[in-house]
């Protein structure tokens, strides 16, 4: 039965009343509706991508596992299953996700629909690179098997396609083998952006790499960072007493943010202090530590509803990708703009991206660097983000649709270019344009 719920993305802005219903492929074929619909996974995208006021279908109850081939590591499952469910079932048997975003509460469909990247993008590409096939319900209600061999245009357009080509029903992914549930983490401090980028380049052979960046540091210290490298630990690398139970680790104690923080809780001074202390702590961390995979990949998941930190007004995440050649210049300009505006970000994350996937029209990663920042939703922050857009576009970069809640159609078109024409044409041809829309697709005229 359908009902009305006030939905928002993870950034809690914008909010809209939407008609919602659990998705049932037997009855909810698109041809039964005289208006468009969109499917929602776990609502972990930040903006308005998984919202359609006329009908937002909820996917997570379709979470059954269908088969597993222990030779190849191929797992087939209904697309509403969450990454956490895969980890719970398969880590104890020595398998891990091939690529994972920084939250395990996202669904397989959601991660496929944004073509998520992880800390191993420089080496392993994005989630779509590890998808064997999926079944897609198209606008006419037909279900199509898409793979690099069958319906390849649809396969490519759907990976990163933000739910705008159809409902993803069933997915086959390739898991990777692990010996333990632990990661060997190495922390390398970098005194400024140049050093940070050099460290990324020097460690291209690391399995995982990511940096936390102090976006309030000025002058010579601009872009001061802590680089975290990670390798799946082998059994031999575990302390002796743990070797017999390599997949056990202490369960994280769930904490939650039960109420909204007041709007003043995060201000320039608290941010500056936090960033300074965080960096100091990082420089004193032991250079190599064993960390369980939960703490390594999903530190924010340990605090449920941490998005309330930004108060009722909500927040926006700004994430751009910048091509290798101009990344440094662009990043320095962006850091200057941020510090001039006096708006820091709690979480500023920098990551080296490997080659992108040019045949997937809406896939976000391009070879170079990606920077992600959180801003509370204030008029100043919105102005700053417009300025950051200009810098991104001027350097041939682009914004991530999974994080976006506010970019303009012009910005979008300037950054995704010809691929958009291709995507729009496919949507017209397959009837998807009328059948599948989100607030985001309407805003960007996708």
């Amino acid at each position: 039965m359908s009902r009305v719920e006030t939905l928002s993305g993870w950034g809690r802005w914008p909010k809209r009343d939407c008609v919602v219903d659990d998705f049932d492929p037997a009855t909810d074929t698109p041809d039964r509706f005289n208006h468009s619909t969109i499917t929602r996974g776990a609502g972990r995208s930040y903006g308005d991508a998984a919202m359609n006021p006329d009908m937002t279908f909820l996917g997570p109850l379709r979470n059954r596992f269908i088969s597993f081939d222990p030779e190849a590591g191929d797992l087939v499952l209904q697309a509403g299953a969450k990454l956490s469910e895969v980890l719970e079932a398969f880590v104890p048997r020595g398998w891990f996700l091939p690529v994972t975003p920084g939250t395990k509460f996202a669904t397989i469909a959601g991660v496929l629909a944004v073509d998520a990247h992880g800390k191993n993008h420089h080496a392993e590409g994005s989630f779509g690179d590890h998808v064997n096939w999926f079944d897609l319900m198209q606008a006419d209600g037909q279900i199509k098997r898409c793979s690099p061999k069958d319906s390849v245009h649809l396969f490519n357009a759907t990976i990163g396609g933000m739910g705008l080509t159809g409902h993803i029903l069933t997915v086959s992914i390739k898991l990777r083998r692990i010996e333990t549930a632990w990661i060997q983490q190495k922390t390398l401090p970098a005194a400024n952006l140049e050093q940070a980028m050099q460290l990324f380049e020097d460690h291209q052979d690391a399995t995982y790499s990511v940096a936390w960046l102090d976006c309030l540091a000025k002058g010579d210290a601009r872009g001061r960072s802590l680089i975290y490298l990670g390798e799946h630990a082998s059994v031999a690398q575990l302390p002796a007493e743990q070797r017999s139970k390599p997949f056990d680790y202490p369960a994280p104690k769930p904490k939650s943010m039960p109420i909204d923080a007041p709007n003043w809780a995060l201000n320039r001074f608290s941010l500056k202090a936090f960033n300074y202390l965080y960096y100091r702590k990082g420089t004193k961390a032991p250079p190599v530590e064993l960390v369980d995979y939960d703490r390594y990949f999903y530190p924010l998941d340990a605090i449920h509803q941490w998005n309330r930190l930004y108060g009722k007004r909500g927040f926006a995440q700004y994430q751009c990708a910048l091509p290798l050649a101009s990344a440094k210049e662009a990043l320095l300009e962006q850091l200057d703009a941020i510090s001039k505006a006096g708006l820091g970000s709690f979480l500023a994350v920098l990551k080296r991206l490997g080659p992108g996937a040019p045949n997937r029209p809406l896939s976000f990663p391009i070879e170079g660097y990606t920077l992600a920042l959180d801003f509370p939703l204030t008029p100043q922050a919105l102005t700053l983000m417009d300025l950051l857009d200009e810098i991104t576009i001027a350097h041939g970069g682009r914004l991530y649709l999974a994080k976006d809640s506010r970019m303009t159609q012009a910005t979008f078109e300037a950054s995704y270019g010809d691929a958009l024409t291709q995507f729009r044409a496919l949507r017209r041809q397959t009837g998807a344009y009328d059948a599948f829309q989100s607030l985001q697709s309407r805003r960007l005229n996708l």
């Binding site: 009902r3 109850l61 059954r64 499952l77 969450k82 469910e85």
Partner: protein, 247 residues
Amino acid sequence: MIPADSPVLILGARSDMARALAHEFAKEGHPLMLAARNADTLSEDMTDLEVRFQAKVTAHDFDILDVDGHAAFLGNLPEVPAVVVSVVGFMGDQDESAINPDAARKVIDTNFTAPCLMLELCAGRLAELKRPTAIIGIGSVAGDRGRAKNYVYGAAKAGFATWLSGMRQKYVDSQLHIMTVKPGFVRTSATADMDLLGPLTDEPEAFAKKVMKALKRKSQVYYDIKWRAVMGVITHLPERIFMKTKF
């Protein structure tokens, strides 16, 4: 402690909450017996449990309203379960069940008479095993206070909770542990047409994990912590005030 290799019987295995509870038991290594009407349609759920947790699963035709068939059903199971979980429930249509005796009977029988009789039968068998066993009955906060919206269902769930409370006292000297679970609004298909209170809503998996923890610490009556507070207030409101609220 109930050994991880002892079988668990789930009555009303088709619901989203039942599926989530089955996942939790399977993860610990328990073999599962899924019971519901048209058991042959449970094959997707059986595969799900096998693929996720390499669980041993069987499916069994079971109609809670066929009270005369309960004993035979139990007798025909391949093994005597060590844990019985009843996730049986039926919301019905409040307006209809308030005036139509057949509709009222269906709600009351499905939520009260039939599951209580079945669990009574199970309790006898489990207690006889003379080893740690458990019964989990999924009730509802709707049974804690009659609300205009769903009081026929609520009355039946109230009766269910009272029955289990009595059984708990009856079996206090045995090794059978009886736990009543009162979910608030768990986000399942069954609550799909109710106004969901956003932050008080749990996903079935998250809720199932909490139920497992409650079982391990041998809770008698388990509410989610958020609901404990809400219901604490609601059950203590004097009737003359409660009747005027819109809750």
